[in-house]
Each structure stands twice: as structure tokens, then as C-alpha cells.
Symmetry: D3
Subunit: 192 residues, 6 copies
């Protein structure tokens, strides 16, 4: 039985990649134990690969008012609205790992309104979903609601920027029919 393709677009051989891409990919493999498919699928366009992961790091690794788990909640909730398999499955695993709650990823993927969240997290996801799905209606009232719940203006930007980045990411994944690695389905499912 052959392995299913990880994308409907050609995926370059690792050894054919520019050295900086190869180094980034090998660093991920060393840390995680496998290479998430997004690295391989985006590598066909080295400039876009570099821009994407620079953006990703800028937004997702930035120190701010949101926890790592909360950032991943935004990714999963907005990607679920876009029905993006790669982003939901891969980042669902990260929600589980960062929250140490083995059920939270699936809960948010199905319906964040019924997930085990703090009220401020529910509000954060309400805003993110609005920006993801009806951005033309997002406005001063939504910012105000977040501030009133204790988020800072920088937190508001983070919520919006993560939502925006995964609006891009979801569409790249749908464009390329990007397949989540098998590993993501099971990571972090051992009870916390």
C-alpha cells in the first residue's frame, strides 16, 4: 500500500532545497521527532516559505498577554470554521500539549461555545471567529468588549494577527490539499 500524498502539488526533495530551508526543517525534526508536512509543502516556494515562517514566529512566539495554549485555541477555532484539516489536526495537538487538557483540542474543533474555557477565553474566540468569518463587521465594539474583559490593546492585536495569519494558512492548506501528519492525531491525548 502506498502512502497518501501530502499535497496535490509536487513536494520538493529535501536535498534539493536551499540550505536555510533544510536547516529549519532539520531543526524541527530534531525537536519534534518528525517533519510537519507544512514545511515540506511550502518548501516548493522558498521565498514564501521564509516569509510564512518568519510571520509565524513573529506572531506565535511573541511574548505577550496570551498564553501559548490560548494562541493555539484561536488557531483551532478559526481553522475549524474554515474546515481546514491540517490546521485543526496539527494545532489541536498543540492545544492539548500546551493546555495539558487532552480533550480541549477536540472540544474547540467541534464547537468552541461548548468547550471547557474560561469566560475571557470564550470572548476571545467570539472576537476571533467574527474576524475570521465576517471581518467586514468587526469594529470598535468588538475591540471594546475585549478590553472590558481585561485584554490589553496588544492582546487584541495578537488575537487579530493570529486570526489573520491562519486565514492565510487555512487557504494555503486548502489550495494544496495539505495532509496532516499521522503523528498529530495522537499527540497529547494522554490525560493531564
Amino acid at each position: 500500500m502506498t502512502e497518501p500524498a501530502i499535497s496535490s502539488f509536487d513536494v520538493p526533495a529535501l536535498e534539493a532545497l536551499p540550505v536555510d530551508l533544510r536547516e529549519r526543517i532539520e531543526a524541527v525534526r530534531a525537536k519534534t521527532g518528525f517533519v510537519p508536512n507544512v514545511f515540506l509543502v511550502l518548501a516548493r516556494r522558498p521565498d514564501e516559505f521564509r516569509a510564512f515562517f518568519t510571520y509565524y514566529d513573529a506572531v506565535m512566539l511573541r511574548q505577550g498577554g496570551l498564553t501559548k495554549a490560548e494562541k493555539e485555541m484561536i488557531v483551532v477555532a478559526t481553522s475549524a470554521a474554515n474546515q481546514c484539516p491540517y490546521c485543526v489536526i496539527a494545532h489541536g495537538a498543540l492545544v492539548r500539549l500546551f493546555s495539558k487538557n487532552p480533550r480541549l483540542g477536540d472540544q474547540i474543533a467541534v464547537n468552541y461555545r461548548q468547550a471547557d474555557l474560561a469566560p475571557r477565553q470564550r470572548l476571545m474566540l467570539d472576537a476571533a471567529l467574527k474576524l475570521a468569518q465576517a471581518p467586514q463587521t468587526f469594529g470598535a465594539d468588538d475591540v471594546q468588549a475585549l478590553l472590558a474583559a481585561g485584554f490589553s490593546r496588544e492582546d487584541v492585536w495578537d488575537i487579530g494577527a493570529i486570526t489573520a495569519l491562519f486565514a492565510l494558512s487555512n487557504r494555503l492548506a486548502h489550495l494544496s490539499d495539505m495532509r496532516p501528519n499521522d503523528e498529530f492525531f495522537t499527540m497529547g491525548r494522554e490525560s493531564g
Copy 2:
């Protein structure tokens, strides 16, 4: 009378910015005659600024099968679906300039289905709009329709990548209530 704010978020003073941002901004001003607000609004987060414009250059300046005008058509059509003032007004000007058609920007902004487009451009925008608005339904059939119309697989990626980048861009603009510069409203309106 005071100038309307260009964003609901604070905009940093130019002189407070890292030198590479300042240089990029001054280069744009030298070329265009003014500083498009997106540079000022995103500058509050230098890392995200760098990532955004790296991505922008990678996608929009890449030499490929799409003309500059066609790339801007995708931006305007998908941004219009998201009702994004900055992107529609600024890139509507670029559609006018690159296509040398002073009406095409507005036509696409209102309804690309009735714009003066070649059939393959109409098809290109059908695909872009589907990926923008219902990405979960985008699939092999859509890619096939583009290939059948003469687009290469690299063109398909470009169509998707531009759509994806402006899915992000539209949401950043809505998040920050980014205001288009007055200059964009009139650029390229002299008949071609």
C-alpha cells in the same frame, strides 16, 4: 479640522522605528510620492511588518504567468468580498494603473462577474473568490478548471497564494480600522 486617524491603534512615529523599516518606508515615499498607510499601521510591530512585506514581495513581485494587473484583480475581487476599504481602494488604484483601464478597478470592486474581463480572468476570479469565501469547498475540480483554461500549476499556486495573503491582509486592515490614503481614490483615473 483634524485629520481622521489612519488606524484605531496607535501609529508609531517614523523616527522611532527601526532603521530597516524607516528605509523601506522612505523608499516607498520616494517612489510613490506618499507613504501608503499600511506601512505606518503595521510598523507598530516591526517583526510582523518585516514578515508581511517579505511575503508581499514574494507573492506580488514574483515573475510568473499572471500579469501585474491580474494579480491586482485578485486582490480587489477578494478584498471586495471581505468589504475591506484599504485593500479595495489602494489596489483598485493599482488595477487601474497596471491595466491602463480607468474603470476596471471599480468594476471589479462592485461585481467582478460583470467587469470587462477576458474569460480566463473571470475564471481566475471565480477560483480566487471560492478560496476566499468557501475555502473548505475548494478542491481538485477547481484546480482542474484553471488548468483547463490554460493556467499552469504555478499560476494556480500564485492565484491561491495571493488570495491567501489578502485573506490575512483584509483581516489586519479590519482589525486596525486601516484607512486608505486619499491619494488612492484618484490615481489612474485618467483615461487609458
Copy 3:
């Protein structure tokens, strides 16, 4: 190069029209300097032409609490929701002319929520859009909100009647693939 057709339906020759239609058309030409295509496209059905412009005059020329610019704002905002090129482009020009704001037409066409409007105008457009897009949900609460903002009951009727007339007008324009005259794209763009 041939001129693009102004409609997918046959357009009658001016000299073949009933005299009252010809007179109305010549009067418009004398005043405006050109004949807006809606007059030519609707002329194929003289009875409907007469009824349409009688209705138009009754609603749009009526003296009441709404300014001319506000009436045109309703036209542009609701026609933009229906993505109607003729109505958005032609009445966008009228917004510019009557408001003496060269950017307001485009702002409303893209997203009235972010346009430079007074709060009561924003509310007026909220109501108009609701009646245009989800008329079955329009009710006493919406009327009450308008009254509370200082509109009279006659103003409310005007807001509704303009919305209703352009619900018709947009559909006639889509039916006939009515093309906006080139002149409308540039009228009123000189700064106020």
C-alpha cells in the same frame, strides 16, 4: 474597437420612442451632458419606463428630512450589497456631488460601516441594509431605533421607500446587464 453593449437586451433607437420618453431623455441630456444608460435600457418598455421614473421622482425628489446626499447614500449602500454595477457607479457619483466629499461614494460602496458618516447616518444605513438583505426580520424595533435617533416617521418611510425602489432597480439592472456610462466613474472626484 467597438463600444461595449449597454445591455444584454436590445436598446431601442431614440427616434423610435414615444415622444414623452424622448422628451424626458433629451431633458436629462441637456442637464447632465449625456444620457444615463438606465433611460435607454428601460425605454424598450415605455409603460415600465414611465412608471419607474415616476416612482423615482416621487421618492428621490420628495422634500423631507433626508438630504439629497443621504438619499444617495442609501442607494449606494444597498446597491453595493446587491453588487449592482450600474447603481453603485452612477449613484456613487451622486453621493460625491451632493456630499461634496470626493471619497464618500467609494467608502460607502466598499463598507458603509467604515465610511466617514455621522452616527445617525450609520444608523440609517443599518436599517436600510437590513430591509434590503433580510426584510423578513425588519420590524418595530428597527423603526424605534430610527425614531430614537431623531428621524421622523416620514423619514423612516423615505428610508424604506428608497431601499425598496432600489431593490427593484438593482434587479432590473442585473436582469438587463445594464452598463454604467463611463462619465459616472469620474464625476465629482475633484476634491470638495
Copy 4:
């Protein structure tokens, strides 16, 4: 017990109306046995009343390729999509009377796709509903489908014009909370 109001707006006394309106209203009463509420509700604006009924006559009484019953089918199907009580109830009665089918009005009001219609009538309503609900997507393909089913170009205009007129009419009825007369509920229900 008091009668329910026929509108949320004031309804003028018959004797206060301009003579031409009174004459039209009395003529209807003489023919039908009662005054349909639309005449009373619209009478508060005599100019709009005149324009509306001129339009109505131009479109609904015009001799053409559509039968009277077919015209009313378009009214009921599109008004049902807008959930307009006055138009669905009043014109449902007319469908029953003109088609001599006591069930057809209700069938179309609930779901025209399952009503007892000829295939060409089903197609006619598909086009009307598209123009009513997603006018921005109505185009040459839709016209072509009607022509292929045997409709003439004049029939296509009629289908579109009726749809357009009731897009207006539905919104006036929702604006004014127009109540259907009790008589309409039972007219034409005796089996054909």
C-alpha cells in the same frame, strides 16, 4: 375586541384622499368586494401610490407569453423567499383563482420545488428566485436557460420585471407591517 391595525404607519381616511386615488380604490372595491389593504397603506403617499399601481399594471396586466397564473406564481415564490405575509397571502389567492388549483398557492408558498408545476414553470421560478435572492449572480447563463426552455426574450424580461417589482413590494410591506385582508385567506379554496 378591536380590529388589528393594517399597518404600523398611519392610514389616511378614504375621504381625505385625492380624487384619483379614491376612484381607483372604489373601482377595486366594486370589482373585488373589498379594498385590499395595500391600497390603503400606500395611500399615505399619493405620488408613490400612483407610481406603484402604474408599475403594477404595466407589469402584471401586460399581454405576453406568461399566463396570469404564471405571473402570480412568480409573485408568490419570490415573496415567500422574503417571508412577506401580505404578498404571499394575497397573491396566493390569485394563484388559486387563476390556476383553478385550490392547492397551488400554498404549495408554492411553502416550497415551489415540490409544487405541481410544469417543468418550464419550475425553471421560470428557479430564475426568478435567483434574481430575487442572489441578483449579483444572475447572468447570461440564466437568460440562456430560459430561452432554451421556450421562453421568449420578452418573457424573460417579464419574469425579471415581476421579480423586481415584488422585491420592492415585499420591502414596502415589511416596512409598513402591512396586514393581509382576512378575505385573501379563503378566496379560491373551493376545489377546481
Copy 5:
């Protein structure tokens, strides 16, 4: 002229049915004077027939805080949202009979928001429609609104259970293209 089929699926002969189904059907005929088509259409799957009518009785015949007319209002309003001919026509008759209001069935079928209802009934239907059409958004706030209007928790369950049962029922009727009996169109139309 042949009778129209009552379903697109085969309908079994009465005499071929298990005795308990036949008895139930004959009891309905004895009481109502005719056999509603739902009994005949579902009889092709005796186990599902038994389950369906057991469920129906459990929910619709249960003594509780909702009147019989109110239960039927929920059926008609939610079935109208699903455009289900059988359920709207048959249960519209029951609304007329139980409410002794010959117009209420049609009013609710077209637009419950404009029907002659008590405020608490309007609220009941708001909740039912939300559960029918956007169940993923139904939550504690909706339950609270019903309790605040004087409904008990058991009433809330009843509202939800009726909505849920007709979510099923509407889909079975659409699956089988179930035709309402002619009798339902006229039952209860004599004035109350």
C-alpha cells in the same frame, strides 16, 4: 387523470402491513376521516414507523405547560424554515383547529414574526427557530430568556424536543417527497 404519487418511494399496500401498523392507521382513519400520508409513507419501514409515532405521541401528546396550539405553532414555524410541504400544510391545519384561528397557520407559515401571537409565543418561536436553524449557537442564554418569560424548564425541554422531532420529520418528508393530503389544505378554515 391519475392521482399524484404521495411519495417518490414505494408505498406498501395496507393489507400487507403488520397488524399493529394497520390498527394504528385504521384508528386514525376512524378519527380523522382519512389517512394522513405520513402513515402510509413511513409504513414501508415498520420498525421506524413504530419508533416515529411512539416519539410523536411522547412529545406531542404529553401534558405540560404548552397548549396543543402552541406545540403546533412550533411545528409549523420550524417546518416552514425547512420549507417542508407535508409538515407545514398538515400542521398548519392543526394550528387552525387548535387555536380556533383560521388565519394563524398561514401567518406562521409565512413569517411567525408578523403572526398574531402573544409575546411569550413569539419568544417561544424565536428559541425554536434558533435551535432548528443554528443549533450550534443555542445555549444557556436562550434557555434563560425562556425561563424569564415564564416558561418552566419542562416547557423548555418540550419546545426543544418538538423542534428536534420535526427536524427529523422534515428531513424524512424531503427524503421521500411526501405529499400532503388534499384534506389538510382546507381543514379549519371556517372562521372561529
Copy 6:
């Protein structure tokens, strides 16, 4: 730390239940090792409990052309469209168990269009989703497409009946804020 409630409605004590309910519940516990919460939540209404599980058995245990895994695919795909946590999580586990594919449940929950399915299964889910989400448009063409793909008419009924039952089930779960048991999250995740 207290256990989260399994429903927003009161859940009866097992020992207070009618004996037949208790026996059914104990039989499930004996077989599965735990009591799925749906049994406890629905038990507050014994008649509805009996009807629901009779229906469930009639539809889900019936021998026919669909495999057990295929039936569960329909449940997961339609319940995901309704964002129903209980049904997606519990039946996602059953998809994994019956298909012996530890990833298929999540794949279908996120986007059945990109799941590892045979073409006929994809078509089966297209039909189920249409009946679940736009039942008013389901018709003869949809049945025909299933027959053309090799499904029998009885299979078509099964597809529709399962979809219909979970239209009900999803709404009961949303009504009662039904919580999936922790066990369901991990069942069947060991590779097949």
C-alpha cells in the same frame, strides 16, 4: 475539583428510573464499560428515551447495504455540520472502531471532503449533508445520483433516515448541553 455537569438539565438518579431504562443502561455499561451520557440525559423523559433508542436501533442496527462504519460516517459528518460535541466525539470513536482507521473520525469531523473515503462514500456524505443543511433543496436529482453510484433505494432511505435521526439527536444534545464522556475521546485511536 468537581466533575463538570453532563447536562444543563437535571439528570435523574439511576435508581429512580423505570426498570426497563435501568436494564438498558446496565446492558450498555456491561458491554461498553461505561454509560454514555446520552442515556443519562435522555432518561429524564422515559417515554422519549424509549422512543429515541427504539428509533436508534431501527436505523443504526438494521441490516442493509451500508456498513456500520458508513452509518457512523453519516452521523459524524452531519453532526459536525451542526457542531454537536456529543455526537461528533462519541460517533467519531465509532467511526474509528468500525473502520479500523484511527484517523478517519477526525478527518470527517473536520472536513469530509478531504477525508480518506471511497468515491461512493464521498457521494453518500454529499447527499447526507445536503439533506442535513438544505433539506428543502434535496430532491429527485440527489436520489438519482446515489442510485447511479450503486446505492439501492433502501440504501438511500437509510442514508436519509440516519441523517434525519441525527438532525433530531444533535438538537437534543444542543438543547441539553450534553457532554461527551471522556472515554470517547481516546477510544479506537490505536492504529489499525
